[in-house]
């Protein structure tokens, strides 16, 4: 069984009358094992876009990547391959096969790779059908605890109303995890982000079709290395308190506030998906009733639970003081991640403003992003921003929008906006 550990970073001292308590809770797992050792096993789906737009190098590269992914899937893992256009088709097991999903073994691996080689591009793109078919296939193996899909597209979800995709996403949320990848510059970051966010996965841009295979290989390997199928973050707050937000802030920013399900009247659970040996940071903010100077109280218990058992608990405290040297101190972790979360949102808002032709807003937002990236030491974000804006003054956040930017650079900035750097300790 995996070992979970929590570490809390906060300034517990509040000034007289203050009510809001912020803390960064680092959750670290060790001894998680691998998917092969996890009870219940693992199921892996590869979903690749077979719409007409994929014709040419994209299709060839995607098929090759799917074959590489199949090579990485360990024997014993339940798996299937889906080809998606305006409809979804099961490519393997073959559509006429009596079962929808099989366990990997050498014969199945060869046959699956052959099936992938038969995939041909045609038709439009309706990703809701892909997700619903994946959900139906996963439903065939209810005993499997850990279910993961990789989804690759090169284009917009143009064959159906946007609402169709959103309702499919909410229908399958909680059933499996999904990493979403876009190849080229014709797909919509917001669409794949919606899928990946709801399904506890990542979204990323693959500039060059030749790189798909390496990415798929890494994704499958990572999925295979997660030995804890499903953990939930629990946040207890005292009677009368309000949980302002719960946010994962590392390795990427993800607001979990709306994902709360109730454990009891004072405790909410937030999904975190599967865990390998890794470390994640969460930002928890709680509003409590102010107490007299000198009082202490517990503002939150932040816990990790697997299968209903709490494996680790971190305590977030509040102590009211009239010593301003204590209360004025801003915790460096809280400050860092507050900045990084704002960075993610101003990048997204800035790019959206730019796309809609609102250059004034785009300039202000991306200028703020440049400033935040510098303040929080996020050099990768700074270098991505440089491809989209001319930086006049990093400290002041004064920038000018570049003319004729590469669409891929904007998409790369957008998809990577939620990636955070950790505090140097």
């Amino acid at each position: 069984m995996a070992d979970f550990r929590t570490e809390v970073f906060q300034n517990e001292f509040l000034s007289d009358g203050a009510t809001d308590v912020h803390a960064i809770v680092t959750v670290t797992s060790s001894g998680a094992g691998t998917a092969a050792t996890s009870s219940g096993g693992i199921a892996e789906l590869v979903i690749i876009d077979t719409s007409g737009s994929m014709s040419g190098p994209n299709m060839d590269a995607a098929k090759y990547a799917a074959q590489v992914a199949v090579d990485q899937i360990a024997d014993g893992t339940w798996f299937a391959v889906i080809g998606g256009s305006h409809v979804a088709n099961r490519a393997f097991p073959y559509p006429n096969a009596p079962v929808a999903i099989v366990q990997m073994e050498p014969g199945a691996r060869e046959e699956a790779k052959r099936a992938i080689s038969y995939m041909r591009p045609s038709g439009g793109t309706a990703m809701s059908t892909w997700l619903r078919l994946a959900d139906a296939i996963f439903a065939e193996v209810p005993q499997v605890a850990q279910k993961h899909a990789i989804l690759l597209t090169d284009g917009r979800n143009e064959s159906e109303p946007r609402g169709e995709l959103s309702s499919a996403i909410s229908a399958v949320t909680g059933h499996f995890q999904c990493d979403a990848r876009g190849v080229g510059s014709s797909w919509e970051v917001a669409e794949l982000r919606e899928i990946a966010t709801a399904l506890l996965g990542t979204v990323d841009l693959i500039r060059n079709p030749a790189d798909i295979a390496a990415d798929f290989k890494a994704l499958v390997n990572e999925s295979m290395s997660k030995g804890v199928a499903d953990a939930e973050l629990r946040v207890w707050a005292p009677q009368g308190a309000q949980v302002l937000f719960v946010r994962r802030v590392a390795p990427t920013v993800e607001d979990l506030t709306a994902r709360r399900t109730e454990v009891n009247a004072l405790t909410g659970a937030y999904p975190t998906g599967a865990w390998g040996d890794e470390s994640r940071d969460y930002h928890v903010a709680v509003r409590v009733a102010s107490k007299p100077v000198g009082s202490e109280q517990l503002a939150a218990r932040v816990q990790i639970a697997v299968g209903g058992d709490v494996l680790a608990s971190g305590l977030v405290k509040a102590r009211w003081s009239d010593d301003s040297s204590l209360t004025a101190r801003i915790n460096p972790e809280v400050a860092h991640y507050t900045g990084q979360a704002e960075l993610a949102s101003v990048i997204q808002e800035g790019l959206a403003a730019k796309a809609s032709g609102d250059e004034a807003t785009a300039t202000v937002k991306l200028g703020r992003a440049v400033q935040l990236a510098a303040e929080t030491g996020n050099e990768e974000a700074t270098s991505r921003l440089r491809r989209v804006v001319e930086i006049d003054d990093e400290e002041q956040g004064t920038v000018r929008l570049k003319r004729n930017t590469d669409k891929l650079d904007e998409m790369a900035l957008d998809t990577a906006s939620t990636k955070t750097t950790r505090v140097r300790r």
């Binding site: 707050a237 005292p238 009677q239 009368g240 308190a241 004072l266 409590v288 007299p292 100077v293 000198g294 009082s295 202490e296 109280q297 517990l298 503002a299 218990r301 608990s313 305590l315």
Partner: protein, 354 residues
């Protein structure tokens, strides 16, 4: 439990004849094998502790499961009620991280005994010093009560203070050589019939608060404030001054003298004897103010001394709770009908946790 020795530092029950605590190694010499008449700090409850703020359950992590209030240790807050007419509460207050106040109350034969010690703030182990000395003094007073008359109480208070001082030396051991050894104030009141005899070192106080008529402070603080008052500085100004709280006498390894001053008063009618630490009287120093507060409190919560004391402590916390707070009360019902005659001592005088 007629003969149980508990470690003053950690509360572990010692084996018969042990000189040191098995659990923490603190010397146990402070406690004579004389019978201890009244229990002081109650045993740790076996069931899950209850939150004092909301009545919820305290979780294993030390905070309430409902409201998040931190658990208070028995050392941080306890209540004693050795008889229906003698009771008190000792509390950490709001601002201090430790409770360095202590009290030890008893009914010894016909005599009520109140001892309050206030550990010198921010000196390590002052909480140990105050508790061990309060108990040692109480035990001397209870044991000596049988042979005492009104005329011999002052001498017994001197003996009690010496025993309390010795108890500190025994409890803190080697730490007595430190630059700032553990030390505490001392005030004891014995109530024998209508007579109240107080002995003190430092600024913990005894007040006589009659139901009718003028209240007064029986003790006289050994404090810089009082020296200022003696020089003509107004009381309020002296007590509010920065150096006013410095005490000029105390118990502990660095004390110059451990002979307490004593004072006696004779009740002319029914009333209350209050022994308290500065955590209470800082918010109501004048005897008339204390009396008003007491009478208002009784009007609200009734006449049980532990309940009154708890309310006084709550009031002091409401004023800011800047220091540890101790309030111990003994009732003189009528000048002739004394503490012990009209109320039986409960068979098991278990203190109630407030």
């Amino acid at each position: 439990m007629d003969h149980v020795v508990t470690c003053a530092a950690c509360g572990t029950i010692a084996e018969d004849g042990s000189k040191f605590c098995e659990h923490c190694g603190t010397p146990l010499g402070a406690v004579d094998p004389a019978p201890v008449v009244a229990e002081a700090v109650p045993e740790q409850p076996a069931t899950a502790p209850v939150c004092r703020a909301c009545g919820g359950t305290i979780a294993d992590d030390g905070y309430c499961e409902s409201c998040g209030e931190p658990a208070v240790s028995e050392r941080d807050h306890w209540s004693e009620l050795p008889s229906a007419l003698v009771g008190g509460v000792c509390d950490r207050g709001r601002r201090k991280s430790r409770n360095e106040d202590a009290m030890a109350l008893a009914l010894g034969g016909p005599t009520a005994v109140l001892v309050v010690c206030d550990g010198v703030s921010n000196v390590p182990d002052s909480d140990v010093a105050s508790l061990t000395s309060a108990r040692a003094a109480r035990d001397v007073l209870v044991t000596g009560a049988a042979g005492s008359t009104v005329g011999t109480w002052s001498a017994l208070l001197v003996t009690a203070a010496a025993a309390a001082d010795q108890a500190i030396a025994d409890a803190v051991g080697d730490t007595s050589d430190r630059a700032e050894p553990p030390s505490c104030t001392f005030v004891a009141a014995v109530v024998d019939g209508p007579t109240v005899v107080a002995g003190w070192l430092g600024d913990s106080r005894v007040y006589w608060l009659p139901d009718e008529g003028a209240a007064h402070q029986v003790s006289v603080d050994d404090s810089a404030a009082n020296e200022m008052i003696a020089r003509g500085v107004p009381r309020a100004k002296a007590e509010a001054s920065r150096e006013g709280h410095a005490i000029t006498r105390w118990l502990g390894p660095d004390a110059e003298t451990v002979v307490p001053s004593t004072g006696t008063t004779r009740a002319q009618g029914p009333g209350w004897v209050l022994a308290c630490s500065d955590g209470l009287w800082n918010y109501c120093s004048e005897a008339t103010d204390v009396a008003d507060l007491l009478h208002r409190t009784i009007a609200q919560v009734g006449t049980s001394p532990d309940v009154i004391a708890a309310e006084l402590v709550r009031w002091a916390n409401e004023q800011g709770g800047h220091d540890n707070i101790t309030a111990a009360l003994a009732r003189i019902a009528t000048p002739v009908d004394t503490v012990h005659t009209d109320e039986a001592v409960p068979a098991d005088p278990a203190p109630t946790a407030a």
